[in-house]
């Protein structure tokens, strides 16, 4: 059970040119792969699959050739081939039987099934039958536990009665099912001695426009303006004693947020604008706060208009708010503080007073959820 001998099984008469020639029939798919990624290296895994499709396994010269296509060093391609378990580095058997042995399948009887298969095929796991028809391998979870013990023959899952040829919930692989498969495959081998190849990329689309800027690609990048400019959202407001705070959520790309007010929800006029870059915080959307004063008891409407560079978003939906008098707070003093703020004068007690108001206003604020 080891890989000793890989060097010996390499085909002696194969050359790099020979690989290239055999691979030429796959050129359309290789061209498509090269189009798909911004760098050629990303094609490596897929090109190795194509090698495996063509040869049935991945000879070392195939690895080297793939490295050339993907423009990576040969040793990089080799390390990648060694890393993944599905690239076969020795000539394979015609059919590859994988049996899952991980915990769910263990419970559902994988060991018994493996023992059965070993007997049926006359080989131990990790080896190939003498007629080179079957290889038997223990593998880890195949993501088909519901039908466990999960079995795969080549790339097909056994997950339902063979005759139905479709997945059946709650069906469990039974020794008899696998036996039937094996018999059928043996019969097929007798009838069709030549091996068929299976498309290892599962029928990829061949005429995509490709990754913009990738070699051979013609796809064009997305315009910045394909989507509408981001509006301000989640507008809400609170306040008392004529002082109102409006909040809105804006997108990271927003460069200016204009607040507008209206008495009747019809004619809005600007009452202030905020530059979001002045708001500190982690990257991502930002909450913008705007303070305003209106007469106590009056209902006003707000909306916000977000600008992103020179793109202007549609106005946010408007909200209505009515501030109420809050008897506990000293309105006179309140007004004085605010006017001080405007004139930019220092006021020792300002901070405290404002905090006081904020606290109190939370209790009494009359929030209205948008307009009906």
């Amino acid at each position: 059970m080891s890989k000793v001998g890989i060097a010996e099984v390499q085909p002696q008469d194969l050359t790099l040119e020979g690989v290239a020639e055999r691979m030429s029939k796959h050129q359309a798919r290789i061209d498509e792969l090269v189009r798909r990624y911004p760098v050629k290296r990303a094609t490596l895994l897929q090109v190795l699959w194509l090698i495996q499709e063509e040869f049935g396994w991945v000879p070392r010269l195939g690895i080297k050739w793939a490295a050339g296509i993907a423009e990576v060093s040969p040793v990089h391609a080799f390390a990648v081939t060694e890393f993944y378990t599905m690239y076969k580095q020795v000539p394979p058997a015609r059919w590859h039987i994988r049996v899952c042995q991980t915990v769910n399948c263990l419970i559902q009887g994988s060991e018994a099934l493996i023992a059965h298969l070993e007997e049926k095929l006359g080989i131990a796991c990790g080896s190939v039958t003498e007629d080179n028809l079957f290889a038997l391998e223990r593998v880890e979870c195949l993501a088909a536990c519901g039908n466990g013990p999960a079995v795969q023959i080549d790339d097909e899952f056994l997950y339902g009665p063979e005759e139905l040829n479709q997945h059946e919930d709650g069906w469990h692989t039974q020794a008899a099912d696998v036996d039937r498969w094996i018999e059928r495959l043996r019969a097929e081998a007798a009838a069709h001695p030549e091996w068929e190849t299976v498309d290892q990329l599962g029928g990829i689309i061949l005429d995509s426009l490709g990754h913009p800027g990738a070699p051979k690609a013609s796809g064009s990048p997305n315009q910045e303006t394909y989507a509408a400019a981001p509006p301000a959202i989640n507008l809400n407001a609170e306040g008392a004693n004529g002082k109102i705070t409006v909040h809105a959520l804006i997108a990271p790309e927003c460069s200016k947020l204009v607040f507008e007010r209206s008495d009747d929800d019809l004619g809005f006029s600007e009452v202030g604008a905020i530059d979001p870059s002045t708001i500190k915080g982690p990257p991502g959307p930002k909450t913008v706060t705007f303070d305003d004063r209106v007469d106590i008891g009056k209902t006003v409407y707000y909306r916000a208009i977000a600008h992103s560079g020179n793109r202007v978003a549609t106005p946010s939906s408007s909200i209505a708010i009515t501030t109420e008098a809050r008897p506990e707070a000293d309105t006179e003093y309140n007004l004085k503080v605010l006017s001080d703020e405007k004139s930019g004068k220092e006021n020792g007690g300002k901070k405290e007073v404002n905090a006081d108001i904020a606290q109190a206003s939370e209790k009494t604020a009359n929030k209205e959820e948008g307009k009906k």
Binding site: I6, A7, R60, V75, H76, F78, F83
Partner: protein, 549 residues
């Protein structure tokens, strides 16, 4: 200078240089922190996990690798000194590191400077908990596996990886340093870690050899004895070696090296001599790298040395050679003196002093016929004349070709440590038209063999002196006590003796300084191990002007 920042290590405030990884800061603060995969001149892989430390984050204390943890002002760190968790985590890593390691230190060339060996002594568990009845998994690559006497599959040993490097797959700790070196520095990915899990092994593409001008650097970066240089295989145990800091003499970048030599004094210690040259890290010059050719220069220290004098090719004593040279100089009508870009500034200063003493009878020549190549951006400038810049600063002309045209004017030629015939035999042949040819050389080279009188001198590893590299950095060569003949003098000693002044080392350096204004603030001490960047000529002139005003 950037301002230092404060971080807290084990409850103590330390100020450290910003912009580094925590591991560097810990080193700076004097906290020993082990590392395998981290290398200051390679990208960060963070895979060995030995450098774990506890760092306080928004969600409390957590183990983090210190090599991938940029430092922030005020960060709070616990190390092995105050955290049991760190000690245990490191013990754990060491224990795992040894699970599949052969520990064949007695036959390992890395023993003595192996990071694994070092850390299992200091950070490992006292006793091994590994169970002898549980096999190892160090099978290595499929092409080199073998089976040992116990029936255990083992990785390849002493695999011939290329012309210069040997690989022991079992000893590899998958740190990926060599991979990163080849990819990032050499720019030629020839090594990779293949497979995965504990089957991971280091390999070239099967059947291909590791072959790069810098491939021996992989043996330096390899923290263990997986990659070793063939030239050093079983030569010497490293603990017998002493180290002297120096620079390479074959390139004008002046890659920093240590000369690893054995004095051979001790009982039972093998023969004396230089065993290897190792790159010495200098972030401003060669980082941690050294060209293979430079690295192998030590072999010339014992080959073909001129340890005595030669008169017309016949050996003579050094004293006889000296007398003959003095006589020749005294009787010559017109002497061409060729200074050398391969010699130190001190040597050339002695040559200039001789020139002045000889007055009108002598004329100075300089330059080199060696081809100047392209720099490789790693550890070579491509200019083989190591001290070309030093010659320029000493105002030595670049006019060798003129000398060839004017040979008829001279009847005596004096060369110092400059193998003109090897550099360009076709051009040099003209010099044979000068009847008296006096040569100072460390080797029986082509020039010495054509001398009428040649005198052996010390080679680059045996002298102390300065050179200026192509980027105006003055650096020092230091002498190791391995000279094949203790009587040999360095060039400046021999030349100053010829001019009758008999300098000591301080006088030689003073003479250099006297001639080069940029060296005003420079001393051997200020040059130190890492060299000193010279201020530009313009800056010197400007400051001189302002001083006048």
């Amino acid at each position: 200078m950037t301002d230092k920042i404060q971080i807290t290590i084990d409850g103590e405030e330390h100020s450290v240089t910003p912009g580094q990884q925590l591991i560097q800061a810990l080193w700076e603060a004097g906290v020993d922190t082990p590392n395998f995969c981290y290398h200051e001149d390679l990208s960060i892989a963070g895979n060995c996990r030995i450098c774990l430390a506890e760092v306080e984050g928004p969600r409390g204390w957590g183990l983090m690798i210190s090599c991938h943890m940029p430092i922030r002002p005020g960060m709070n760190v616990r190390t092995q000194r105050s955290s049991e968790k760190v000690v245990n985590a490191r013990k754990g890593v060491m224990e795992f590191q040894l699970v599949n390691h052969p520990l064949d230190c007695p036959i390992c060339d890395k023993a003595g400077e192996c990071k694994l060996q070092e850390h299992y002594m200091s950070d490992g568990r006292g006793e091994s908990r590994m169970r002898d009845d549980i096999g190892k998994q160090y099978a290595g690559g499929p092409d080199h596996q073998s089976c040992d006497r116990k029936g255990q599959t083992r990785g390849g040993k002493h695999i011939d990886l290329g012309d210069r490097v040997l690989l022991d797959q079992e000893r590899c700790i998958s740190c990926s340093r060599c991979v990163r070196f080849m990819r990032e520095v050499a720019g030629d990915e020839q090594l990779e870690l293949a497979s995965r899990g504990d089957h991971t092994y280091i390999t070239t593409f099967p059947g291909e050899k590791l072959d790069h001008e810098y491939d021996l650097c992989t043996t330096d970066v390899c923290p263990v004895g997986a990659l070793t240089g063939k030239h050093f295989r079983f030569q010497q145990r490293v603990w017998f070696l002493k180290k002297t800091n120096s620079i390479v003499p074959d390139d004008s970048l002046g890659a920093n090296i240590t000369i690893d030599y054995n004095e051979g004094q001790r009982e039972g210690a093998p023969e004396y001599g230089v065993y290897r040259l190792m790159p010495r890290r200098n972030p401003d010059v060669n980082k941690s790298w050294l060209h293979n050719d430079s690295r192998m220069l030590y072999t010339q220290l014992t080959e073909n040395r001129l340890t005595e004098g030669l008169k017309h090719g016949e050996p003579c004593s050094l004293a006889e050679a000296n007398t003959a040279m003095s006589a020749a100089l005294a009787s010559a009508k017109k002497i061409a003196i060729v200074a050398s870009g391969h010699a130190t500034n001190e040597d050339n200063a002695a040559v200039l002093a001789l020139l002045e003493k000889l007055g009108d009878r002598a004329e100075l020549f300089g330059g080199s016929w060696l081809a100047v190549g392209e720099g490789d951006g790693i550890a070579r400038s491509g200019d083989p004349v190591a001290n070309r810049r030093g010659c320029e600063l000493l105002a030595i002309p670049d006019n060798l070709d003129q000398l060839c045209e004017r040979v008829a004017e001279f009847d005596c030629l004096l060369t110092v440590g400059h193998d003109l015939w090897a550099a360009d035999a076709e051009k040099a042949v003209a010099l044979e038209g000068i009847s008296e040819r006096l040569v100072f050389s460390a080797w029986k080279d082509a020039t010495a063999s054509r001398a009428t009188v040649a005198m052996g001198v010390r080679a680059w590893a045996e002298v102390r002196g300065t050179m200026v590299n192509c980027n105006d950095r003055i650096q020092m060569l230091q002498a190791c006590p391995i000279c094949p003949n203790d009587e040999l003098m360095s060039i400046w000693e021999a030349v100053s003796e010829l001019s009758g002044v008999e300098w000591d080392s301080a006088a030689a350096w003073k003479a250099v300084k006297a001639r080069v204004p940029q060296l005003a603030d420079v001393s051997y001490r200020s040059i130190g191990a890492l060299g000193q960047q010279l201020v530009s000529e313009a800056a010197v002139a400007a400051s001189a002007e302002s001083a006048e005003v």
